[in-house]
Amino acid sequence: MKNTQAPQEVVVTGTATPAPRKSPFVRKFQRDWQLHLLMLLPLIWLLIFKYYPMYGAQIAFRNYRARAGIWGSEWVGLKWFKRFWTSPDFAKILLNTIILAAYSLFITFPLPIIFALMLNVVRNEKFKKFTQTMTYIPHFISVVVLVAILNQVLSPVNGLYGSIYRLFGGEGYPTDIRSSASAFRHLYVWSAVWQQLGWNSIIYLASLSSVSNDLHEAAQLDGASRWKRVIHVDLPTIIPTLGIMLILRCGHILSIGFEKVFLMQNSLNLTKSEVISTYVYKKGLQDTNGFSFGTAVDLFNSIVNCILLLTVNWISKKASKDEVSLF
Protein backbone atom coordinates (compact mmCIF):
# COMPACT_ATOMS: atom_id res chain seq x y z
CA MET A 1 0.00 0.00 0.00
CA LYS A 2 2.71 2.43 1.00
CA ASN A 3 4.61 1.84 -2.21
CA THR A 4 1.69 2.59 -4.48
CA GLN A 5 0.90 5.77 -2.61
CA ALA A 6 4.35 7.25 -3.07
CA PRO A 7 6.04 5.32 -5.83
CA GLN A 8 8.41 8.06 -6.93
CA GLU A 9 10.10 8.45 -3.58
CA VAL A 10 10.61 4.74 -3.34
CA VAL A 11 12.29 4.67 -6.74
CA VAL A 12 14.54 7.62 -6.02
CA THR A 13 15.73 6.34 -2.67
CA GLY A 14 16.09 2.90 -4.16
CA THR A 15 18.67 3.80 -6.78
CA ALA A 16 22.26 4.13 -5.77
CA THR A 17 23.10 7.06 -8.08
CA PRO A 18 20.02 9.23 -8.69
CA ALA A 19 19.65 10.15 -12.37
CA PRO A 20 20.08 13.91 -13.05
CA ARG A 21 16.71 15.65 -13.16
CA LYS A 22 15.77 16.43 -16.78
CA SER A 23 14.19 19.70 -17.70
CA PRO A 24 10.59 19.49 -18.95
CA PHE A 25 11.82 20.58 -22.37
CA VAL A 26 14.20 17.66 -22.73
CA ARG A 27 11.62 15.19 -21.40
CA LYS A 28 9.03 16.42 -23.87
CA PHE A 29 11.56 16.28 -26.66
CA GLN A 30 12.41 12.70 -25.80
CA ARG A 31 8.73 11.88 -25.91
CA ASP A 32 8.02 13.75 -29.18
CA TRP A 33 11.27 13.31 -31.09
CA GLN A 34 9.60 11.24 -33.80
CA LEU A 35 7.05 13.96 -34.40
CA HIS A 36 9.84 16.51 -34.70
CA LEU A 37 11.55 14.16 -37.15
CA LEU A 38 8.40 14.04 -39.30
CA MET A 39 8.26 17.82 -39.18
CA LEU A 40 11.87 18.22 -40.27
CA LEU A 41 11.36 18.04 -44.03
CA PRO A 42 8.33 20.38 -44.09
CA LEU A 43 10.25 22.78 -41.85
CA ILE A 44 13.24 22.87 -44.20
CA TRP A 45 10.90 23.34 -47.15
CA LEU A 46 9.10 26.15 -45.33
CA LEU A 47 12.32 27.96 -44.50
CA ILE A 48 13.74 27.69 -48.02
CA PHE A 49 10.69 28.29 -50.19
CA LYS A 50 8.61 30.57 -47.98
CA TYR A 51 10.86 32.35 -45.53
CA TYR A 52 13.96 32.81 -47.63
CA PRO A 53 11.97 34.83 -50.22
CA MET A 54 10.65 37.00 -47.37
CA TYR A 55 14.23 37.62 -46.35
CA GLY A 56 15.09 38.24 -50.00
CA ALA A 57 12.30 40.81 -50.24
CA GLN A 58 14.74 43.31 -48.69
CA ILE A 59 16.03 43.94 -52.21
CA ALA A 60 13.03 46.28 -52.38
CA PHE A 61 15.20 48.60 -50.23
CA ARG A 62 18.39 47.95 -52.16
CA ASN A 63 19.68 48.51 -55.64
CA TYR A 64 19.84 44.84 -56.54
CA ARG A 65 22.58 43.66 -58.88
CA ALA A 66 22.89 39.95 -59.56
CA ARG A 67 26.66 39.90 -59.18
CA ALA A 68 26.63 41.67 -55.83
CA GLY A 69 23.90 39.47 -54.36
CA ILE A 70 21.36 40.52 -51.75
CA TRP A 71 23.82 41.74 -49.10
CA GLY A 72 26.31 43.27 -51.52
CA SER A 73 23.79 45.49 -53.27
CA GLU A 74 23.72 49.01 -51.93
CA TRP A 75 20.98 50.17 -49.56
CA VAL A 76 18.74 52.80 -51.13
CA GLY A 77 15.95 53.05 -48.58
CA LEU A 78 12.54 53.90 -49.98
CA LYS A 79 13.80 54.94 -53.42
CA TRP A 80 11.81 52.32 -55.33
CA PHE A 81 8.67 52.87 -53.30
CA LYS A 82 8.90 56.58 -53.99
CA ARG A 83 9.44 55.92 -57.65
CA PHE A 84 6.26 53.82 -57.70
CA TRP A 85 4.21 56.37 -55.74
CA THR A 86 5.29 59.21 -57.97
CA SER A 87 5.05 57.34 -61.27
CA PRO A 88 2.21 58.29 -63.59
CA ASP A 89 1.09 54.63 -63.57
CA PHE A 90 0.58 54.52 -59.81
CA ALA A 91 -2.90 55.99 -59.52
CA LYS A 92 -4.18 54.16 -62.58
CA ILE A 93 -2.88 50.76 -61.52
CA LEU A 94 -3.99 51.07 -57.93
CA LEU A 95 -7.42 52.23 -59.04
CA ASN A 96 -7.72 49.41 -61.59
CA THR A 97 -6.79 46.88 -58.94
CA ILE A 98 -9.19 48.26 -56.35
CA ILE A 99 -12.12 48.66 -58.73
CA LEU A 100 -11.69 45.19 -60.20
CA ALA A 101 -11.37 43.64 -56.75
CA ALA A 102 -14.31 45.54 -55.29
CA TYR A 103 -16.54 44.82 -58.29
CA SER A 104 -15.54 41.16 -58.02
CA LEU A 105 -16.30 41.07 -54.33
CA PHE A 106 -19.69 42.75 -54.59
CA ILE A 107 -20.84 40.36 -57.31
CA THR A 108 -19.09 37.07 -56.68
CA PHE A 109 -19.54 37.11 -52.93
CA PRO A 110 -23.32 37.42 -52.51
CA LEU A 111 -24.47 35.48 -55.59
CA PRO A 112 -23.39 32.01 -54.37
CA ILE A 113 -25.17 32.72 -51.08
CA ILE A 114 -28.39 33.59 -52.88
CA PHE A 115 -27.94 30.55 -55.10
CA ALA A 116 -27.47 28.28 -52.07
CA LEU A 117 -30.58 29.72 -50.39
CA MET A 118 -32.57 29.09 -53.56
CA LEU A 119 -31.28 25.55 -54.02
CA ASN A 120 -32.18 24.88 -50.42
CA VAL A 121 -35.77 25.84 -51.22
CA VAL A 122 -36.01 23.49 -54.22
CA ARG A 123 -38.00 20.47 -53.09
CA ASN A 124 -37.32 18.06 -55.92
CA GLU A 125 -34.26 16.18 -54.67
CA LYS A 126 -33.23 14.86 -58.08
CA PHE A 127 -33.43 18.23 -59.77
CA LYS A 128 -31.46 19.79 -56.95
CA LYS A 129 -28.72 17.15 -57.13
CA PHE A 130 -28.54 17.47 -60.91
CA THR A 131 -28.25 21.27 -60.70
CA GLN A 132 -25.43 20.94 -58.20
CA THR A 133 -23.54 18.45 -60.34
CA MET A 134 -23.84 20.61 -63.44
CA THR A 135 -23.03 23.95 -61.85
CA TYR A 136 -19.82 22.58 -60.28
CA ILE A 137 -18.38 21.63 -63.67
CA PRO A 138 -17.02 25.05 -64.73
CA HIS A 139 -14.97 25.19 -61.53
CA PHE A 140 -12.65 22.53 -62.92
CA ILE A 141 -11.92 24.35 -66.14
CA SER A 142 -8.46 25.92 -66.12
CA VAL A 143 -8.00 29.69 -66.50
CA VAL A 144 -6.32 29.18 -69.85
CA VAL A 145 -9.28 27.23 -71.17
CA LEU A 146 -11.74 29.68 -69.63
CA VAL A 147 -10.13 32.64 -71.36
CA ALA A 148 -9.84 30.62 -74.57
CA ILE A 149 -13.57 29.88 -74.43
CA LEU A 150 -14.27 33.57 -73.82
CA ASN A 151 -12.14 34.48 -76.83
CA GLN A 152 -13.84 31.94 -79.05
CA VAL A 153 -17.40 32.56 -77.99
CA LEU A 154 -17.07 36.36 -78.03
CA SER A 155 -15.42 36.55 -81.42
CA PRO A 156 -17.46 39.01 -83.51
CA VAL A 157 -16.63 37.12 -86.70
CA ASN A 158 -17.11 33.45 -86.04
CA GLY A 159 -18.05 33.25 -82.38
CA LEU A 160 -21.40 32.79 -80.75
CA TYR A 161 -21.52 36.50 -79.97
CA GLY A 162 -21.33 37.39 -83.67
CA SER A 163 -23.92 34.74 -84.57
CA ILE A 164 -26.41 35.97 -82.00
CA TYR A 165 -25.82 39.56 -83.12
CA ARG A 166 -26.70 38.61 -86.69
CA LEU A 167 -29.56 36.37 -85.54
CA PHE A 168 -31.23 39.42 -84.07
CA GLY A 169 -30.84 41.37 -87.25
CA GLY A 170 -27.48 43.06 -86.71
CA GLU A 171 -25.62 44.10 -89.83
CA GLY A 172 -22.08 42.84 -90.42
CA TYR A 173 -20.01 42.41 -87.30
CA PRO A 174 -20.50 43.82 -83.80
CA THR A 175 -17.64 45.62 -82.07
CA ASP A 176 -15.02 43.34 -80.59
CA ILE A 177 -15.68 43.42 -76.85
CA ARG A 178 -12.63 41.26 -76.16
CA SER A 179 -10.39 44.21 -76.86
CA SER A 180 -12.63 46.87 -75.39
CA ALA A 181 -11.34 48.50 -72.24
CA SER A 182 -14.80 49.27 -70.91
CA ALA A 183 -15.95 45.65 -71.23
CA PHE A 184 -12.91 44.15 -69.53
CA ARG A 185 -14.17 44.36 -65.95
CA HIS A 186 -17.59 42.97 -66.78
CA LEU A 187 -16.08 40.05 -68.68
CA TYR A 188 -13.66 39.37 -65.87
CA VAL A 189 -16.29 39.39 -63.13
CA TRP A 190 -19.16 37.67 -64.91
CA SER A 191 -17.01 34.89 -66.30
CA ALA A 192 -15.94 34.28 -62.71
CA VAL A 193 -19.59 34.13 -61.70
CA TRP A 194 -20.18 31.54 -64.41
CA GLN A 195 -17.21 29.51 -63.25
CA GLN A 196 -17.62 29.66 -59.48
CA LEU A 197 -21.31 30.18 -58.72
CA GLY A 198 -22.05 26.51 -58.05
CA TRP A 199 -18.80 25.65 -56.38
CA ASN A 200 -18.81 28.58 -53.97
CA SER A 201 -22.33 27.73 -52.88
CA ILE A 202 -21.26 24.32 -51.49
CA ILE A 203 -20.05 25.70 -48.20
CA TYR A 204 -23.32 27.56 -47.62
CA LEU A 205 -25.40 24.55 -48.61
CA ALA A 206 -23.41 22.57 -46.06
CA SER A 207 -24.22 24.97 -43.26
CA LEU A 208 -27.85 25.22 -44.41
CA SER A 209 -28.15 21.47 -43.98
CA SER A 210 -27.56 21.94 -40.28
CA VAL A 211 -30.77 23.95 -39.84
CA SER A 212 -32.98 22.10 -37.40
CA ASN A 213 -36.22 20.87 -38.93
CA ASP A 214 -38.06 21.59 -35.71
CA LEU A 215 -37.33 25.24 -36.31
CA HIS A 216 -38.93 25.08 -39.75
CA GLU A 217 -41.90 23.15 -38.46
CA ALA A 218 -42.46 25.50 -35.57
CA ALA A 219 -42.18 28.55 -37.81
CA GLN A 220 -44.60 27.01 -40.26
CA LEU A 221 -47.14 26.26 -37.57
CA ASP A 222 -46.90 29.89 -36.57
CA GLY A 223 -47.88 30.74 -40.12
CA ALA A 224 -44.49 31.74 -41.52
CA SER A 225 -44.35 31.44 -45.29
CA ARG A 226 -41.38 29.78 -47.00
CA TRP A 227 -40.03 33.25 -47.86
CA LYS A 228 -40.26 34.31 -44.23
CA ARG A 229 -38.48 31.14 -43.22
CA VAL A 230 -35.66 31.80 -45.68
CA ILE A 231 -35.14 35.21 -44.11
CA HIS A 232 -35.62 34.29 -40.46
CA VAL A 233 -34.49 30.66 -40.27
CA ASP A 234 -32.12 29.84 -43.14
CA LEU A 235 -30.23 33.11 -43.44
CA PRO A 236 -29.27 33.49 -39.77
CA THR A 237 -27.80 29.96 -39.85
CA ILE A 238 -25.20 30.82 -42.45
CA ILE A 239 -24.18 34.18 -41.00
CA PRO A 240 -21.07 32.86 -39.15
CA THR A 241 -19.80 31.07 -42.27
CA LEU A 242 -20.58 34.15 -44.30
CA GLY A 243 -18.61 36.31 -41.87
CA ILE A 244 -15.47 34.19 -42.09
CA MET A 245 -15.66 34.02 -45.87
CA LEU A 246 -16.12 37.78 -46.07
CA ILE A 247 -13.08 38.49 -43.90
CA LEU A 248 -10.96 36.22 -46.06
CA ARG A 249 -12.18 37.87 -49.24
CA CYS A 250 -11.64 41.38 -47.91
CA GLY A 251 -8.14 40.48 -46.80
CA HIS A 252 -7.25 39.52 -50.32
CA ILE A 253 -8.95 42.45 -51.96
CA LEU A 254 -5.75 43.78 -53.50
CA SER A 255 -4.38 40.42 -54.53
CA ILE A 256 -6.30 40.17 -57.77
CA GLY A 257 -4.87 37.01 -59.23
CA PHE A 258 -2.29 37.38 -61.92
CA GLU A 259 -3.29 34.41 -64.05
CA LYS A 260 -6.66 35.39 -65.45
CA VAL A 261 -5.99 39.10 -65.86
CA PHE A 262 -2.73 38.39 -67.65
CA LEU A 263 -4.44 36.08 -70.12
CA MET A 264 -7.29 38.50 -70.77
CA GLN A 265 -4.96 41.42 -71.33
CA ASN A 266 -4.28 42.88 -74.74
CA SER A 267 -2.86 46.16 -75.91
CA LEU A 268 -6.34 47.64 -76.36
CA ASN A 269 -7.80 46.99 -72.92
CA LEU A 270 -4.61 47.74 -70.99
CA THR A 271 -5.92 51.03 -69.61
CA LYS A 272 -8.40 49.04 -67.47
CA SER A 273 -6.69 45.68 -67.21
CA GLU A 274 -3.27 46.63 -65.87
CA VAL A 275 -3.30 45.63 -62.19
CA ILE A 276 -0.54 45.43 -59.57
CA SER A 277 0.33 41.76 -60.15
CA THR A 278 0.66 42.08 -63.92
CA TYR A 279 2.62 45.30 -63.47
CA VAL A 280 5.04 43.53 -61.12
CA TYR A 281 5.50 40.78 -63.69
CA LYS A 282 6.23 43.21 -66.50
CA LYS A 283 8.39 45.66 -64.62
CA GLY A 284 10.14 43.16 -62.42
CA LEU A 285 10.66 40.07 -64.50
CA GLN A 286 10.56 41.16 -68.11
CA ASP A 287 12.72 44.20 -67.47
CA THR A 288 16.34 43.19 -66.84
CA ASN A 289 17.00 45.82 -64.17
CA GLY A 290 13.59 45.80 -62.57
CA PHE A 291 14.09 43.27 -59.77
CA SER A 292 14.24 45.83 -56.99
CA PHE A 293 11.47 48.03 -58.34
CA GLY A 294 9.16 45.05 -58.94
CA THR A 295 9.82 43.69 -55.47
CA ALA A 296 9.01 47.06 -53.94
CA VAL A 297 5.67 47.21 -55.75
CA ASP A 298 4.88 43.63 -54.71
CA LEU A 299 5.85 44.30 -51.11
CA PHE A 300 3.69 47.40 -51.02
CA ASN A 301 0.79 45.26 -52.21
CA SER A 302 1.48 42.52 -49.66
CA ILE A 303 1.65 44.96 -46.77
CA VAL A 304 -1.56 46.74 -47.73
CA ASN A 305 -3.25 43.34 -47.95
CA CYS A 306 -2.03 42.33 -44.51
CA ILE A 307 -3.22 45.58 -42.96
CA LEU A 308 -6.62 45.21 -44.64
CA LEU A 309 -7.03 41.66 -43.39
CA LEU A 310 -6.11 42.53 -39.83
CA THR A 311 -8.40 45.58 -39.85
CA VAL A 312 -11.39 43.71 -41.23
CA ASN A 313 -10.80 40.89 -38.78
CA TRP A 314 -10.54 43.33 -35.89
CA ILE A 315 -13.77 45.09 -36.87
CA SER A 316 -15.61 41.83 -37.25
CA LYS A 317 -14.30 40.57 -33.94
CA LYS A 318 -15.59 43.70 -32.20
CA ALA A 319 -18.90 43.68 -34.03
CA SER A 320 -19.64 40.01 -33.40
CA LYS A 321 -18.30 39.98 -29.84
CA ASP A 322 -15.48 37.51 -30.62
CA GLU A 323 -17.73 35.13 -32.56
CA VAL A 324 -16.53 35.77 -36.10
CA SER A 325 -12.77 36.01 -36.26
CA LEU A 326 -9.89 34.25 -37.94
CA PHE A 327 -7.56 34.13 -34.98
Binding site: N158, G159, R166, G198
Partner: protein
Protein backbone atom coordinates in the same frame (compact mmCIF):
# COMPACT_ATOMS: atom_id res chain seq x y z
CA UNK B 1 -27.79 18.12 -47.41
CA UNK B 2 -30.15 15.73 -49.13
CA UNK B 3 -31.66 14.47 -45.92
CA UNK B 4 -32.31 17.97 -44.77
CA UNK B 5 -34.39 19.06 -47.77
CA UNK B 6 -36.28 15.78 -47.57
CA UNK B 7 -36.94 16.29 -43.90
CA UNK B 8 -38.13 19.84 -44.48
CA UNK B 9 -40.41 18.60 -47.20
CA UNK B 10 -41.75 15.90 -44.89
CA UNK B 11 -42.28 18.39 -42.10
CA UNK B 12 -44.04 20.72 -44.49
CA UNK B 13 -46.29 17.95 -45.66
CA UNK B 14 -47.19 17.18 -42.09
CA UNK B 15 -48.04 20.79 -41.41
CA UNK B 16 -49.68 21.53 -44.74
CA UNK B 17 -51.92 18.53 -44.29
CA UNK B 18 -53.38 20.57 -41.52
CA UNK B 19 -53.32 24.02 -43.09
CA UNK B 20 -52.50 23.44 -46.77
CA UNK B 21 -49.73 25.00 -48.86
CA UNK B 22 -50.50 28.71 -48.99
CA UNK B 23 -50.75 30.60 -52.27
CA UNK B 24 -47.74 32.68 -51.29
CA UNK B 25 -45.67 29.54 -50.84
CA UNK B 26 -46.80 28.11 -54.16
CA UNK B 27 -45.62 31.27 -55.93
CA UNK B 28 -42.35 31.16 -54.01
CA UNK B 29 -41.61 27.58 -55.05
CA UNK B 30 -42.52 28.25 -58.68
CA UNK B 31 -40.38 31.38 -58.92
CA UNK B 32 -37.39 29.71 -57.29
CA UNK B 33 -37.65 26.68 -59.56
CA UNK B 34 -37.80 28.88 -62.66
CA UNK B 35 -34.78 30.94 -61.61
CA UNK B 36 -32.74 27.84 -60.77
CA UNK B 37 -33.70 26.33 -64.15
CA UNK B 38 -32.57 29.47 -65.96
CA UNK B 39 -29.26 29.60 -64.10
CA UNK B 40 -28.71 25.94 -64.87
CA UNK B 41 -29.25 26.59 -68.58
CA UNK B 42 -26.95 29.61 -68.60
CA UNK B 43 -24.20 27.61 -66.93
CA UNK B 44 -24.48 24.47 -69.05
CA UNK B 45 -25.04 26.15 -72.40
CA UNK B 46 -21.43 27.31 -73.04
CA UNK B 47 -20.20 23.81 -72.19
CA UNK B 48 -22.56 22.21 -74.71
CA UNK B 49 -21.70 24.86 -77.30
CA UNK B 50 -17.98 24.21 -77.01
CA UNK B 51 -18.37 20.44 -77.26
CA UNK B 52 -20.77 20.74 -80.23
CA UNK B 53 -18.45 23.14 -82.04
CA UNK B 54 -15.54 20.76 -81.61
CA UNK B 55 -17.50 18.05 -83.42
CA UNK B 56 -18.66 20.30 -86.27
CA UNK B 57 -16.99 21.03 -89.57
CA UNK B 58 -14.66 23.99 -89.67
CA UNK B 59 -16.90 25.73 -92.13
CA UNK B 60 -19.98 25.41 -89.94
CA UNK B 61 -18.08 26.76 -86.94
CA UNK B 62 -16.53 29.77 -88.61
CA UNK B 63 -19.77 30.78 -90.33
CA UNK B 64 -21.50 30.68 -86.94
CA UNK B 65 -24.06 28.02 -87.81
CA UNK B 66 -23.40 25.99 -84.69
CA UNK B 67 -25.82 27.06 -81.97
CA UNK B 68 -26.66 23.98 -79.95
CA UNK B 69 -25.92 20.65 -81.63
CA UNK B 70 -23.01 19.76 -83.96
CA UNK B 71 -23.54 20.95 -87.55
CA UNK B 72 -22.07 18.85 -90.37
CA UNK B 73 -20.57 16.43 -87.81
CA UNK B 74 -16.88 15.91 -88.31
CA UNK B 75 -13.74 15.24 -86.34
CA UNK B 76 -11.49 17.43 -88.47
CA UNK B 77 -10.67 19.56 -85.43
CA UNK B 78 -9.49 16.55 -83.45
CA UNK B 79 -7.51 15.34 -86.43
CA UNK B 80 -5.52 18.59 -86.49
CA UNK B 81 -5.08 18.62 -82.72
CA UNK B 82 -3.51 15.18 -82.66
CA UNK B 83 -1.04 16.18 -85.34
CA UNK B 84 0.43 18.87 -83.12
CA UNK B 85 3.68 17.50 -81.71
CA UNK B 86 3.61 19.97 -78.82
CA UNK B 87 0.14 18.85 -77.79
CA UNK B 88 1.45 15.35 -77.25
CA UNK B 89 4.53 16.51 -75.37
CA UNK B 90 2.35 18.88 -73.38
CA UNK B 91 0.09 16.02 -72.37
CA UNK B 92 3.05 13.86 -71.35
CA UNK B 93 4.57 16.70 -69.35
CA UNK B 94 1.30 17.56 -67.64
CA UNK B 95 0.82 13.93 -66.64
CA UNK B 96 4.34 13.91 -65.21
CA UNK B 97 3.79 17.15 -63.26
CA UNK B 98 0.42 15.97 -62.02
CA UNK B 99 1.52 12.50 -60.89
CA UNK B 100 4.90 13.39 -59.39
CA UNK B 101 3.70 16.72 -58.04
CA UNK B 102 0.64 15.27 -56.35
CA UNK B 103 2.64 12.43 -54.77
CA UNK B 104 5.12 14.95 -53.38
CA UNK B 105 2.28 17.18 -52.16
CA UNK B 106 0.57 14.37 -50.29
CA UNK B 107 3.81 13.13 -48.78
CA UNK B 108 4.84 16.55 -47.48
CA UNK B 109 1.34 17.56 -46.39
CA UNK B 110 1.00 14.39 -44.32
CA UNK B 111 4.41 14.93 -42.72
CA UNK B 112 3.33 18.36 -41.54
CA UNK B 113 -0.33 17.66 -40.78
CA UNK B 114 0.15 14.66 -38.53
CA UNK B 115 2.39 16.20 -35.85
CA UNK B 116 0.25 19.34 -35.89
CA UNK B 117 -2.86 17.27 -35.26
CA UNK B 118 -1.42 16.09 -31.95
CA UNK B 119 -2.66 18.49 -29.31
CA UNK B 120 0.20 18.01 -26.88
CA UNK B 121 2.98 18.05 -29.47
CA UNK B 122 5.86 20.12 -28.16
CA UNK B 123 6.28 23.31 -30.18
CA UNK B 124 3.02 22.84 -32.07
CA UNK B 125 2.15 26.51 -31.66
CA UNK B 126 5.43 27.67 -33.15
CA UNK B 127 5.23 25.35 -36.14
CA UNK B 128 1.61 26.31 -36.76
CA UNK B 129 2.43 30.02 -36.59
CA UNK B 130 5.22 29.52 -39.13
CA UNK B 131 2.72 27.93 -41.50
CA UNK B 132 -0.10 30.41 -40.89
CA UNK B 133 2.05 33.47 -41.57
CA UNK B 134 2.72 32.21 -45.09
CA UNK B 135 -1.02 32.18 -45.79
CA UNK B 136 -1.22 35.92 -45.42
CA UNK B 137 2.20 37.21 -46.27
CA UNK B 138 4.80 36.24 -48.85
CA UNK B 139 8.11 37.58 -50.06
CA UNK B 140 6.67 38.05 -53.50
CA UNK B 141 7.28 36.68 -56.93
CA UNK B 142 10.67 38.24 -57.66
CA UNK B 143 12.55 37.09 -54.53
CA UNK B 144 11.06 33.67 -55.23
CA UNK B 145 12.31 33.82 -58.79
CA UNK B 146 15.81 34.82 -57.62
CA UNK B 147 15.78 31.89 -55.21
CA UNK B 148 14.96 29.52 -58.05
CA UNK B 149 17.81 30.93 -60.09
CA UNK B 150 20.12 30.43 -57.14
CA UNK B 151 19.02 26.83 -56.70
CA UNK B 152 19.51 26.19 -60.41
CA UNK B 153 15.85 25.23 -60.80
CA UNK B 154 15.05 27.53 -63.72
CA UNK B 155 14.20 25.65 -66.87
CA UNK B 156 14.03 22.47 -64.80
CA UNK B 157 10.97 20.25 -64.52
CA UNK B 158 11.46 20.18 -60.74
CA UNK B 159 10.69 23.89 -60.57
CA UNK B 160 7.03 22.97 -61.03
CA UNK B 161 7.09 20.20 -58.44
CA UNK B 162 9.28 20.95 -55.43
CA UNK B 163 8.41 24.56 -54.43
CA UNK B 164 4.65 24.00 -54.15
CA UNK B 165 4.98 21.06 -51.75
CA UNK B 166 2.41 22.14 -49.19
CA UNK B 167 -0.71 24.19 -49.60
CA UNK B 168 -1.33 25.41 -46.06
CA UNK B 169 -5.09 25.41 -46.49
CA UNK B 170 -5.01 21.76 -47.56
CA UNK B 171 -2.66 20.95 -44.72
CA UNK B 172 -5.18 22.39 -42.26
CA UNK B 173 -7.94 20.29 -43.84
CA UNK B 174 -5.85 17.16 -43.26
CA UNK B 175 -4.88 18.18 -39.74
CA UNK B 176 -8.52 18.80 -38.83
CA UNK B 177 -9.45 15.41 -40.24
CA UNK B 178 -6.75 13.61 -38.23
CA UNK B 179 -7.86 15.41 -35.12
CA UNK B 180 -11.61 14.99 -35.42
CA UNK B 181 -12.10 11.73 -37.25
CA UNK B 182 -9.58 9.43 -35.63
CA UNK B 183 -10.46 8.59 -32.04
CA UNK B 184 -7.84 9.67 -29.53
CA UNK B 185 -8.37 6.47 -27.52
CA UNK B 186 -6.82 4.58 -30.42
CA UNK B 187 -3.59 6.47 -29.96
CA UNK B 188 -3.56 6.00 -26.20
CA UNK B 189 -4.08 2.26 -26.61
CA UNK B 190 -1.39 1.99 -29.28
CA UNK B 191 1.11 3.98 -27.20
CA UNK B 192 0.47 1.77 -24.16
CA UNK B 193 1.37 -1.18 -26.32
CA UNK B 194 4.66 0.51 -27.15
CA UNK B 195 3.74 1.70 -30.63
CA UNK B 196 5.95 4.57 -31.79
CA UNK B 197 4.57 7.77 -33.33
CA UNK B 198 5.82 7.00 -36.82
CA UNK B 199 4.53 3.46 -36.75
CA UNK B 200 1.17 4.69 -35.45
CA UNK B 201 0.96 7.14 -38.35
CA UNK B 202 1.83 4.51 -40.94
CA UNK B 203 -0.19 1.58 -39.66
CA UNK B 204 -3.21 3.15 -38.01
CA UNK B 205 -3.74 6.77 -39.07
CA UNK B 206 -3.09 6.45 -42.80
CA UNK B 207 -5.35 3.43 -43.41
CA UNK B 208 -8.16 5.34 -41.64
CA UNK B 209 -7.64 8.50 -43.69
CA UNK B 210 -8.69 7.42 -47.16
CA UNK B 211 -11.45 10.03 -47.29
CA UNK B 212 -9.24 13.03 -46.65
CA UNK B 213 -6.43 11.61 -48.78
CA UNK B 214 -8.68 11.23 -51.80
CA UNK B 215 -10.04 14.76 -51.34
CA UNK B 216 -6.59 16.29 -51.19
CA UNK B 217 -5.32 14.06 -54.00
CA UNK B 218 -8.04 15.53 -56.19
CA UNK B 219 -7.46 19.11 -55.07
CA UNK B 220 -3.75 18.88 -55.73
CA UNK B 221 -4.11 16.94 -58.97
CA UNK B 222 -6.60 19.41 -60.46
CA UNK B 223 -4.31 22.22 -59.37
CA UNK B 224 -1.35 20.71 -61.20
CA UNK B 225 -3.40 19.87 -64.26
CA UNK B 226 -4.65 23.44 -64.62
CA UNK B 227 -1.50 25.36 -63.64
CA UNK B 228 0.45 27.50 -66.08
CA UNK B 229 1.97 30.30 -64.01
CA UNK B 230 5.00 28.38 -62.73
CA UNK B 231 5.78 27.10 -66.19
CA UNK B 232 5.47 30.61 -67.62
CA UNK B 233 7.96 31.91 -65.06
CA UNK B 234 10.53 29.15 -64.93
CA UNK B 235 10.53 27.12 -68.13
CA UNK B 236 12.20 28.18 -71.38
CA UNK B 237 12.33 24.89 -73.21
CA UNK B 238 9.14 24.13 -75.12
CA UNK B 239 9.61 20.38 -74.74
CA UNK B 240 9.14 20.80 -70.99
CA UNK B 241 5.97 22.92 -71.25
CA UNK B 242 2.81 21.58 -69.64
CA UNK B 243 -0.32 21.38 -71.72
CA UNK B 244 -1.78 24.61 -70.33
CA UNK B 245 1.14 26.67 -71.58
CA UNK B 246 0.89 25.03 -75.01
CA UNK B 247 -2.81 25.88 -74.98
CA UNK B 248 -2.01 29.45 -74.17
CA UNK B 249 0.34 29.68 -77.14
CA UNK B 250 -2.12 28.13 -79.56
CA UNK B 251 -5.41 29.51 -78.25
CA UNK B 252 -4.73 32.88 -76.69
CA UNK B 253 -1.40 34.32 -77.74
CA UNK B 254 -2.34 33.93 -81.40
CA UNK B 255 -5.91 35.03 -81.84
CA UNK B 256 -6.12 34.94 -85.61
CA UNK B 257 -9.71 35.98 -85.97
CA UNK B 258 -9.23 39.72 -86.07
CA UNK B 259 -11.56 41.75 -88.19
CA UNK B 260 -8.62 42.87 -90.31
CA UNK B 261 -8.04 39.35 -91.56
CA UNK B 262 -11.48 38.70 -92.93
CA UNK B 263 -10.64 39.32 -96.55
CA UNK B 264 -8.37 36.50 -97.54
CA UNK B 265 -8.06 33.91 -100.24
CA UNK B 266 -10.35 30.89 -100.18
CA UNK B 267 -7.51 28.49 -99.40
CA UNK B 268 -6.54 30.51 -96.36
CA UNK B 269 -10.20 30.71 -95.51
CA UNK B 270 -10.51 26.91 -95.47
CA UNK B 271 -7.40 26.48 -93.35
CA UNK B 272 -8.62 29.12 -90.97
CA UNK B 273 -12.07 27.63 -90.54
CA UNK B 274 -10.57 24.19 -89.88
CA UNK B 275 -8.44 26.03 -87.33
CA UNK B 276 -11.60 27.25 -85.63
CA UNK B 277 -12.88 23.70 -85.15
CA UNK B 278 -9.40 22.75 -83.98
CA UNK B 279 -9.51 25.39 -81.24
CA UNK B 280 -12.71 23.96 -79.81
CA UNK B 281 -11.34 20.43 -80.12
CA UNK B 282 -8.24 21.48 -78.21
CA UNK B 283 -10.36 22.96 -75.44
CA UNK B 284 -12.31 19.72 -75.14
CA UNK B 285 -9.26 17.46 -75.32
CA UNK B 286 -7.44 19.34 -72.57
CA UNK B 287 -10.39 19.41 -70.22
CA UNK B 288 -11.82 15.96 -70.97
CA UNK B 289 -9.60 14.01 -68.54
CA UNK B 290 -10.98 15.99 -65.60
CA UNK B 291 -14.57 15.90 -66.83
CA UNK B 292 -14.43 12.15 -67.47
CA UNK B 293 -13.46 11.33 -63.90
CA UNK B 294 -15.65 14.10 -62.51
CA UNK B 295 -18.89 12.16 -61.88
CA UNK B 296 -17.04 9.60 -59.78
CA UNK B 297 -15.13 12.06 -57.69
CA UNK B 298 -17.79 14.68 -57.20
CA UNK B 299 -18.78 13.47 -53.73
CA UNK B 300 -15.18 13.74 -52.57
CA UNK B 301 -14.93 17.37 -53.63
CA UNK B 302 -17.99 18.23 -51.62
CA UNK B 303 -16.67 16.32 -48.67
CA UNK B 304 -13.43 18.28 -48.91
CA UNK B 305 -15.18 21.63 -48.78
CA UNK B 306 -17.06 20.47 -45.73
CA UNK B 307 -14.01 19.12 -43.90
CA UNK B 308 -12.25 22.36 -44.74
CA UNK B 309 -15.05 24.48 -43.40
CA UNK B 310 -14.67 23.06 -39.91
CA UNK B 311 -12.62 25.54 -37.98
CA UNK B 312 -9.77 23.72 -36.27
Amino acid sequence: MANNAKAIAAAEKKVSNKIGLSREDKIMYTVVNIIVCLLLLIIIYPVIFVVSSSFSSGNAVSSGRVLLWPVEPSVVGYDIVFHYRTVWSGFANTIFYTVVGTAWNLFMTTLAAYPLSRRNFQGRGIYMTLFTITMFFSGGVIPHYLLMVKLGLTNSRWALVIPGAINVHNMIIMRTFFRNSIPGELQEAAMLDGCSDIRYLLQIVLPLSKAVMSVLLLYYAVGHWNAYYGALLYLRDEMKFPLQLILRTILIASTSTDLTQIESSSAQEAAKSAGEAMRYALIVVSTAPILVVYPWIQKYFEKGVMIGSVKG
